[in-house]
Amino acid sequence: MERWYIGLRTRSSPVELTDRLGKLVRQYGLSDFITRACYERRSGHKRIGEYYYFMGVVSDEKGCIPDEKYQSFYSVLKQLGVHDSQIYVYYDEIQTMASKEIEAFSFRQIKMVHLKRYAPNDPFDFSISAEDSTHIAEDTKPVFNQLLLCLSAYGRGTWQQFRAICVELGIDSTGAYARRISRNLRSLGHIELSRDGQNWFAAPSCLVQIDGGDHQYHAFLAGQRSTRLLEMLQRETHAIISAQPYGNAPERVLITFPDESAALAFADDYSRQHHPIYSAGYAGLKIASVLPSLDEWETALPILSIVKGNYHFEKWVDSGFKSMPLPQDSGMYRLTHVSERFEHPQLTLYYDADTGIWRRADWYGIRFLALRRTGSSCDVHYDPVQHELAVSHDQRWPDLYERSLVLASGQLPVFRNNHAIYSNISASQAHLLTGKLGANLIEHKGT
């Protein structure tokens, strides 16, 4: 690239001309072509009259005005009331002509990186993100452990930050799969989301007791963790670290203590020295006990006021969304804002036609509610020998109810024959939860 000057004859005030030129350069976006200007200082003398004003430009070679700048450049000259007389010179030549009496100005504009921003999305909406995790490469799976270490250290943050962390760790190239990651982390008792989905919170560290079929005390680690805690568990207890069924969540840390008092002593000792570790007992069963019935759960859901004219509506029918002018019946709806002026994420809500109320919950929760309210029966299969509970893939439970199932083992469900299979579920827990959700529990004895 060459730096050269275009000489222009003018009688205008050099200061005023420079001001106007600077403004026009910025207006026409010519700051990478016209970079500076100078003029003969003697032009300040009133008797001089016409003088040379030099416009400093940058292009491939002297005298060459790039095609893409051509029109803008001559528009600027026209507005300044000057003509291109093809006086093209280098700075050295001006110096000779005008001695040192040159006033220089700069028209440079900022050059900066425009950072990519994530369009806002709904952390609870799974309709877009893929159900499986096959796009996650095998060797990236350990990063789920790093994800939990990172979230534990922050303690809490915004949904945007959660997505950014997932993207940086290479487990979510678009920010869409983060929703499923967060669901898995919630099911495992590692994090909580605020009900509006805008903020996440790392859950307290705790030992969750599970049945091991012997007299020892078996527990897995849920909630916040650190390298130090993991090292201490491996050093001072019998800890086994194993992958989740599809590797798309932090590994399960299963600890065996000789008895409950040893577990409590470890938790007390660690809490005194570092940060609190709670003993959560049989968390799956406890959560099943405190959760309300589906009716009460629905009543407790947050209500959103929706101006119907602002949205396009689609209703969930036969495993897909179908467009409709306005919501008529109760059910699960996807709402897309008509305005493209601002970034509005799609909303997936439950609409109660009797009351006209819109409620917000996790995606599976809304779908389950819609199914129940539209009369679909929900069959759940239980194997009391294997202690496994199978929920139809199309009827996954609201997140807190599913958490109760996952925390019975510390493992995410496996998927077989269009069912999510949860392990280590006791009969009492199965009865308790299906009763609250109004689902049919079908026992398969002896299978």
Partner: protein
């Protein structure tokens, strides 16, 4: 009475409090800061003040007869936690430097006068030249060790020696005095005589001070020069020091009588800034009150009653409390002053000033959070920000846009009579701003760029509290600049160069960050350079940040927190 090790620890804590990794550190100790540091001791203020207690402690440890004797702590220089053991001694040197210079501030500092002031601090008789017992270079070794220790902690040291000669080592403490007493006095005098308003933020204050530079001491004028090394490298320290004088002046009922006093600057009010979050689902933007934490109030219990709800202030991060309630148009327009309840501090009220506009930038520690707040850091070129401005400023802003000085993505009306400009970027360098006239000159002073280039670290996986990036996930580097190129060098802790290349403005480049440690990043353009530190951390350095149950969402969770069911 505090012991030498207690003073040592307290001064280090005070000096580093609220600083992010990569900040430049000044051991800027004066009479007033010693009084504030003294508040951190769990004992009553001695009858003749903390300054005298400090002197007593240093003299007891470092003076033997009529001579300095550093043998009691120089071997070894570090304690069992590898912390420097000699900081009160260096602080005593800075205290002496702080007292140098005549009150008019017109005469240049005479380095020969240093030991005269130093002997006074140390309670020694006046002597010719260097104080007896302090061998040449002995103090220099301590300063170099302090610099070295700061680097290992991820900070940038600022203490520098003078040119070779008799006063080479006295330059170290002199370099640490951002403002001397005479500088403070000249600021105070100008604020009083010029009847300055009491609602400036730090950025606007600095612009006003620069505009009135001719009224200040020679030293202050020198460091306010935009091309001075001190200004380019230590803007934040200068700004912080000036703002502390301003806060002190603002709170004094009778400024004329208090000028020149250096007693503890005990704050009685908490400054409030703005904290902004967006709820994309309800399509609402929320502005909350964001109290700034004064240095001496870090351990105070403070609460405020608002609309019959009692809010207890808890720390969000050093220097800031957690955001409080949502603000409404009336509070934003007219400001707010509310009484505080604080049994163990002098704090009496919250103060939210009525301003014409607010500049909000991304959370510097977690920019990916999408949280904007008025952090008082000012506008960095190349970093989009949000401007919340009264409707009356619309004409000025349109003018700036038409002139190609400012650009924004959208305008929203959040509060009656106010507009929110999103994605605002500064487009032209300071030179282009100088000729423009606005109705609201404070707007121009606040928005015009302070530098011609700025280095940004983007991406990577940040560790909490601005402590660096995690190994394997270091940041990318980009340059925002008015000039196309600059030179970029990255050095490891052993000063080995790990990267050197030109960097094009507007482009992002990857740096081959290696193993955990501190990396010095230097960008040079047209003879000016800027220096940053990037700290790469091991995963094992992450620790858990436990939350109290009241920090979890307060909405109906049926008492479930992760796997824990609250009884």
């Amino acid at each position: 009475m505090a012991t030498f090790p207690q003073w040592n620890e307290a001064i280090i804590n005070f000096t580093l409090s609220g600083l992010s990794i990569g900040s430049r550190v000044f051991l800027s100790i004066d009479d007033a800061s010693l009084e504030i540091i003294g508040l951190s001791f769990s004992e009553n203020r001695p009858e003749n003040g903390w300054l005298e207690d400090f002197k007593r402690s240093v003299r007891h440890k470092c003076v033997f007869g009529d001579e300095i004797n550093l043998a009691r702590f120089t071997y070894p220089l570090r304690d069992s936690k590898n912390c420097p053991r000699y900081i009160p001694f260096l602080s005593a040197m800075v205290l002496a430097a702080h007292n140098m210079g005549d009150d008019s501030g017109e005469k240049p500092i005479d380095p020969r006068a240093f030991f005269t002031h130093f002997n006074v601090v140390m309670g020694l008789p006046d002597q010719q030249g260097r104080t007896k017992g302090l061998t040449t270079g002995e103090d220099g070794k301590l300063w170099e060790d302090w610099n070295q220790w700061l680097r290992t902690q991820g900070f940038l040291p600022t203490a520098i020696p003078g040119d070779p000669g008799a006063y080479r080592y006295t330059r170290y403490p002199i370099s640490q005095t951002v403002l001397r007493q005479s500088d403070r006095n000249s600021l105070w005098r100008r604020f009083t005589d010029g009847s300055w308003k009491k609602n400036y933020d730090e950025v606007l204050l600095m612009q006003r001070i620069r505009k009135d530079a001719q009224h200040f001491t020679r030293h202050l004028r020198d460091i306010l020069q935009p091309d001075s090394d001190m200004w380019l490298r230590s803007y934040e320290a200068i700004s912080r020091a000036c703002y502390e004088v301003y806060e002190d002046w603002r709170e004094t009922d009778d400024p004329a009588s208090r000028m020149g006093q250096s007693t503890a600057r005990v704050r009685t009010s908490l400054d409030i800034r703005l904290y902004r979050t967006e709820d994309y689902f309800s399509d609402t933007t929320e502005y909350r009150l964001f109290p700034r934490q004064p240095r001496q109030a870090a351990s105070s219990t403070i609460s405020v009653l608002h609309q019959r709800h009692n809010y207890t202030l808890s720390e969000d991060r050093p220097g800031w409390y957690m955001p409080l309630w949502s603000i409404d148009a009336e509070q934003l327009t007219n400001g707010l002053k509310l009484p505080l309840i604080s049994p163990n501090s002098q704090l009496q009220h919250l103060f939210f000033p009525a301003r014409d506009f607010w500049v909000l930038t991304l959370d510097p520690q977690i920019p990916e959070s999408g949280v904007y707040a008025s952090w008082d850091k000012g506008v960095e070129i190349g970093s989009p920000f949000i401007l919340l401005a009264r409707e009356e400023l619309r004409t000025d802003l349109i003018k700036l846009k038409n002139e190609g000085l400012l650009e924004w993505e959208s305008i929203n009306s959040i509060f009656d009579g106010w507009n929110e400009y999103r994605g605002v970027t500064v487009q032209a360098e300071a030179q282009a701003w100088a000729s423009i006239t606005l109705e609201n000159d404070a707007l121009r002073l606040t928005l015009q760029p302070r530098t011609n280039f700025s280095l940004a670290f983007t991406g990577g996986l940040r560790a909490p509290r601005g402590s660096g990036w995690l190994v394997g996930f270091g940041p990318q580097v980009s340059l925002a600049s008015f000039v196309t190129e600059a030179e970029l060098s990255v050095y490891a802790e052993d000063e080995q160069i790990v990267f050197f290349d030109s960097i094009e403005a507007g482009k992002t480049i990857q740096i081959p960050w290696g193993s955990p440690g501190n990396y010095k990043v230097v960008v040079t353009q047209n003879g000016h350079s800027d220096e940053r530190v990037v700290r790469i951390l091991n995963w094992s350095e992450l620790d858990v940040r436990p939350l109290d149950t009241d920090q979890y969402p307060s909405d109906n969770t049926f008492g479930i927190y992760g796997a824990v069911v609250k009884d």
